[in-house]
Each structure stands twice: as C-alpha cells, then as structure tokens.
C-alpha cells in the first residue's frame, strides 16, 4: 500500500512538474490478456488494451479535462517455449485509432533471470507498423521488468506483489529516429496461477531527439487470465 502510494505520488508529481511547458496527456488504460496453452511448448495469447484520455494539455487543448478515446489495440501472439525460461513469440496487432487504423507485426524474445529475492524478466521486441495514411514505422524495444512478492520470499495465492518495469523504444520512420521511455510502477494481486490483477502507473516520455516534449501518464488496470487449454 505504502509502496504504491509513494511511487504513484512521485510519478504524478514528476509528470506534472516536468511537463509544465510540454504536451501532457493522462487517462485510464484497461487491458485484458488471455493465455491458452496449445501444447507443452506452444501458447496462444490474446490481448485487448484501450487508452482512454481524461486530460490534455497541448497546442489545441488548454488543460482540458474531458474524455476522449485515444486508441484500442487488439493483439494476438503465438509463443514457443525454447527452455523453461526462454520464450519466443510472433504476434499481430490491429489498432483502432480515430480515422487511422493500423496493422503491426511483432517478433519477440523473452527470458527470465531468477535472483535470490526477485525475478527479472527481459523482453526484446521488434515491431513494424503499417497504415494506409502514414509511412511504415520500425521499432526495436527492450523492457526489463520485475515483480517482487510483498509477503515472504515467494508469491503464494492471494498475495500481493510490487511491480516495476522500464522499456526503451527506438523508432525509425521516414529516416527519422526517436526514442520513447516507459516506466511502470504498481501493485499486483496474485489470485492464483490462473488469474492476476495489476494496478499501475505507466509514465511515457518521448521523443528525446532533440528533447522530450510529450509526457503521457496512464492509470493502468491489467487482468491476466490463464486458461487450462489443451494440455494435460
């Protein structure tokens, strides 16, 4: 509780202070992920996530507190387990975005490092975005994330965990480069091996070339559901 309160307060303060002269957007970001194992090595994941803005401050909106739909992503992934801790996946995303829907192909490699009191998940991902109105965008991204049990050394059913992640995204579009950084801090509730709920703050800054001029703060509500699937 205190961890979420402190980290949330710091993140919100940091966002509003650092974004005083920049574009700032904030809102809620629900997401639902459903996993279905297809065999002992193969797994299918479907995910829906939606960004719903509640605040805008930019050239056309002056500290405007009004609802707007930013985008909704429909994702699907086919994951192949290389070892117990190394997995690779390919995916497809369809983005619904006011008048500019797009397609995205995704490839990723993930691996897990177990330390004495926490585990560190690494994700290396490449994606390519195609849309009828904009030139293709190519991105290479790396995310390090961890979830630390808050009651004891291991996470049991019904317990909570602290989550923290940082992702750096390099994007190339029409020969122009940009970088985006995403920090996520929050808390998760591990109901059991099939369900978990996470509440977090997702703070995004870009484009870093030449400087940061956009800040986005999302209150994220994520639910992960693992179905039994077709395995024994």
């Amino acid at each position: 509780m205190r961890l979420l309160l402190i980290s949330g307060f710091l993140l919100i303060s940091c966002t509003f202070v650092s974004a005083q002269n920049d574009r700032l957007y904030a809102g809620i970001f629900p997401e639902l992920g459903v996993n279905v194992p297809l065999s002992s090595k193969l797994k299918f994941t479907a995910k829906i996530e939606s960004q719903n803005g509640l605040f805008r401050n930019d050239a056309t909106h002056n500290k405007d507190w009004s609802y707007y739909h930013n985008q909704t992503d429909l994702q699907s992934f086919l994951e192949f387990k290389l070892t117990t801790r190394i997995k690779t996946a390919i995916g497809y995303q369809y983005r619904i975005e006011d008048g500019d829907n797009s397609h995205r192909s995704i490839q990723q490699l993930t691996w897990l490092n177990q330390f004495r009191i926490f585990r560190l998940g690494s994700r290396l991902r490449a994606d390519q975005k195609f849309s009828p109105s904009i030139s293709p965008e190519y991105r290479l991204r790396y995310r390090a994330s961890t979830d630390i049990p808050l009651q004891g050394d291991k996470l049991d059913d019904g317990e909570k965990y602290f989550l923290l992640s940082n992702e750096v995204i390099y994007a190339l579009q029409e020969g122009e480069s940009s970088i985006e950084n995403r920090v996520v801090v929050g808390m998760g509730h591990f109901f059991n091996r099939t369900k978990k709920l996470e509440l977090s703050f997702d703070y995004r800054t870009d484009p870093y070339f030449p400087d940061i001029d956009r800040h986005r703060l999302w209150c994220k509500i994520s639910f992960y559901w693992n179905l039994k699937g077709f395995t024994k």
């Binding site: 509780m1 509640l54 177990q114 994700r123 004891g152 909570k160 992640s165 591990f190 978990k196």
Partner: protein
Amino acid sequence: MSSKKVFFLILIFFFQFSSFAQKIEEESRVSEDVVPEKALTFVSELGLKNKTKWYKERTSGRDSYECKFKANSKFYSVEFDTLGVIEDIEVLVKKRKLTQEELRSLESGILKEFEKFKWVKIQRQFKGTNSELNKLITDTNETIPHNFEVELEGKSSEDGWKMYELLLSPNGEILMKREIQLRPTDNLNY
C-alpha cells in the same frame, strides 16, 4: 461526472487496492513474538550481527518456522518445527565455490536423470545436533557431512525442459525429485 472527478476517483481506487484482497498464505513473514522459544534461543546463541527474518511456512499441510539471515558472507536458512526443534540448515552456495569433487559428483548424478541441465540454485543442507549446527555457523572452518538441495532446469526426452528441485547426496545420488511450477510470466512478457 466530469473527467477530472473520474480521474481522481480512479486514483483513490488505486490506493485502496491493497485492502480488498483475502490473505491466504503458504509462506508468511512473522514477528519474533510468535516464534517458539526454543527456536529463538538457538538463533540468539549464534550471536548474529545482521538482522534476522522469520517466516511461517506451510508445506503439504505441515507448519514450520524458518529464520533467514546473512552471516560470514553467506545466506542461511534455518528451519524449525512448531515446537522450535531445529530440522535443518540450508546455506546458499555458488557453483564456483563447490569443490571439484563435489561438482563432479553432483553433475554425474544429475546427468543420469537428465540429458541436459542448467543450474539455478544450490544449497548445502545440514542436519545434526544443536551443537553441531551451532558450530557450523559460528565457526567458519567447521563442516559436517551434508546433502545438497538444488534447483535446476532439466531436459529429458519425455518431458522436454522443466524446472526441478532435487535433493542429492554428496556422491550424487538423487534422494528426492520434484517438479517446480514456475509462476506464469505473462505479465513480464506481454
């Protein structure tokens, strides 16, 4: 309701999040007050400089108490039953700190069970009398015959790669084998 109100209501919901869930624990941190006297006495006689952390564990319906601490640059875990009688001491050890002979014995035992494997965690597991186990921590040169509790990723032709916990004797004989279910990583991967 304005967007501003919605935003702040969501923030309040976030901060209330930790209070709604039920608490069902298999391993939980406990204060010294609930630990059996005998167990506290054993630990206090060690004269530890670093702080200790106490846990109550329930494994297969059986309760026990565990004290974790760092001493002599090593991580110790001392397990007691509910009456405070010491059951074993586990000491975390790095692979490079094992002797050549220990490593050879363990690897040959593991390779009888698996085609390939990767080390995850190695612990020396000591059992003995109170005074033997006390000396083990207070006197760094002291040692007694012991088993090894290891966690590894093992590959077999039938099951592919899986995570296991093994208890091995010093000559590499497998005394116990159980599969470890890794916590789902969907939140870290997607």
